[in-house]
């Protein structure tokens, strides 16, 4: 449960806006001060520090102005620092003009104003933070990709073989000593992999945008630009998107899958066609072709990756993504239905444009009787009247 929660919030952090709390606190103090007169300022200080001297605070002597100036410098440098590191919307510009005006209004003596200006200029001209080289590698791979011609066979240190089917651009290590994984970086091409079983050291192949993770198995992988075609001859592999690991499939013996950069689908008859299109007919393919009989067992419909959801969870995600466009009106729904879990495609829960909402509601009808109407005054807005159990 915790993990699911973490993952959900993790996926939404780009929606989270971070204001500068120090500035907001200052702004808050000004408001409180303004609404309640000078007296409240002493309240603030007596609450947060033991030695309060209201009259001194009220008359704002020079040392307080120095502290305010120092605070301003700190805030400006924090702004510069944050602006460099976070390009996400951080609203920091707004309050600062107020603060600067505030300081000016309080008749700051000139000797303080000048160093302040110099400091700000110095900070503006400071070079951006240099990002250090701190990249973590597990396997030290050779730097260059190798282009390997068709028909060549590469034998890896563990005995696994890579039969090159068409010209392939690939990187692989000379030895697996000290490695926690057997890692192959396949930029493009098509390869028949025969992987020796080793449960302690998973075998991973990565293309431009997809990954295949296996323990021991025989499979073909075709990587063409962003399209990856995987066929399993024996064993089971996990096929996943590098950009989003939640897009993944477990592909079994006799099954296949295609990932085009966005969607991952199981495939059936397409297998033969794909091979014909991409790979010239060669004897080596007899192996693959023979196993096609097993490919008939693949599932009928291409499947979108799904997870278990309940209406509460769905509402939470939909509210974040589609906001006012949809409201499941959970309060009108029976508790037993609200808590019922069902499989729902991830794609229609928390990603994509508002156009997806229509499809999402349609899919919801696979599990419930949904009484809804599309609203006229808004392009992709829906009103749900009730959700009941499917009859």
């Amino acid at each position: 449960m915790k993990d699911h929660k973490f993952q959900q919030e993790f996926d939404h952090i780009k929606d989270f806006r971070v204001y500068n709390v120090d500035q907001e606190w200052e702004h808050f103090l000004e408001k409180v001060d303004a609404s309640a007169g000078g007296v409240s300022k002493s309240d603030i200080h007596s609450q947060d520090s033991l030695n309060a001297n209201p009259s001194k605070v009220f008359r704002l002597p020079r040392y307080f102005a120095v502290i305010a100036a120092g605070l301003l410098v700190l805030i400006i440098s924090t702004i510069a620092f944050l602006n460099v590191l976070k390009e996400a919307p951080t609203i920091v510009q707004e309050p600062s003009p107020n603060l600067i005006k505030q300081v000016e209004k309080k008749e700051t003596p000139k000797e303080i104003a000048t160093p302040l200006q110099e400091e700000s200029v110095a900070i503006e001209m400071a070079p951006p933070v240099v990002i250090e080289q701190e990249v973590i590698f597990e396997n030290e791979l050779e730097d260059e990709y190798k282009t390997v011609a068709a028909n060549e066979v590469i034998t890896l240190a563990d005995g696994s073989t890579l039969k090159i089917l068409t010209s392939t651009v690939i990187k692989y290590p000379d030895s697996f000593e000290g490695a926690s994984e057997r890692f192959i970086d396949m930029k493009s091409g098509s390869v028949l992999f025969d992987v020796v079983e080793n449960s302690k050291m998973p075998f991973k192949v990565m293309t431009e945008n997809a990954g295949v993770s296996v323990l021991g198995t025989t499979f073909t992988l075709i990587a063409e630009g962003v399209i990856n075609t995987l066929n399993i001859i024996s064993g089971t592999v996990k096929f996943y998107s590098l950009a989003d690991e939640s897009i993944s499939l477990l592909v079994n013996k006799g099954e296949g899958a295609i990932f085009d950069g966005n969607e991952m689908t199981s495939i059936e008859d397409k297998v033969e066609i794909a091979l014909d299109e991409v790979i010239p007919e060669e004897e080596e393919f007899v192996e693959v072709v023979e196993s096609e009989e097993e490919l008939e067992k693949v599932p009928e419909k291409p499947a979108l990756p799904t997870s278990k959801y309940d209406l509460k969870g769905l509402q939470g995600s939909w509210a974040s993504f589609y906001g006012e466009n949809i409201d499941l009106k959970l309060k009108n729904i029976d508790k037993s239905i609200r808590n019922k879990t069902f499989e729902f495609p991830n794609k229609y829960v928390s990603s994509g444009p508002a156009e997806n909402l229509g499809k999402a509601i349609e899919l919801l009808q696979n599990h419930f009787e949904v009484d809804y109407e599309k609203l006229d005054d808004c392009e992709h807005c829906y009103k749900i009247n009730s959700i009941k159990a499917k009859q």
Partner: protein
């Protein structure tokens, strides 16, 4: 009657801890950042005025949630925006639990941001480009001139660190 705000848990600390999660929470309801910021500022002002008389039965978080939610309703009503929104929010039968989960979400997201600050610069940058800017692994690799593999490794590592930090803090616990 024990005071809510003490020398340990000062008003300032509470303000700084809850400000961003509350603003993001309000915005998730009314979809207007400026208004959300104002609502939260006003809420804290109101709490400030009664802070010495405050006696809270529930948790501080629940109290802040409730106070902010009331402030949000008042604000919307007085500014005469979307009447249907007001109606929805006012209804007592609304699942407060489901709405308060939004605040929990925001607290978690704040922790994630803080956890990100503990990452090493390059690691953090790669992570940020992926999770916040939305670049794919391939785009990041091209952008930084490194391999897709090392992008993947960095994101894996950063995720691990963030997850560890979050597990140690209490935000993931209900």
């Amino acid at each position: 009657m024990a005071k809510v705000f003490t020398s340990d848990l000062t008003f300032e600390k509470v303000f700084k801890e809850y400000f961003n999660p509350l603003v993001n929470f309000v915005n998730s309801n009314i979809n207007n950042w400026e208004d959300s910021r104002e609502i939260v500022q006003n809420t804290f002002t109101k709490i400030w005025e009664v802070k010495d008389r405050l006696d809270i039965d529930s948790s501080l978080k629940s109290y802040l949630y409730q106070a902010t939610r009331n402030g949000m309703i008042d604000f919307i009503r007085s500014s005469k925006r979307s009447q249907s929104l007001v109606d929805d929010l006012k209804k007592d039968s609304i699942e407060v639990e489901e709405d308060s989960r939004k605040l929990d979400s925001m607290l978690i997201r704040q922790e994630i941001y803080r956890a990100m600050d503990t990452l090493k610069p390059k690691n953090k940058e790669i992570f940020r480009l992926n999770k916040i800017e939305g670049l794919t692994h391939k785009e990041i690799a091209a952008h930084l001139g490194i391999s897709v593999r090392s992008v993947e490794d960095n994101i894996k590592r950063a995720t691990q660190v963030v997850r560890e930090v979050l597990t140690k803090s209490d935000v993931l616990v209900n």
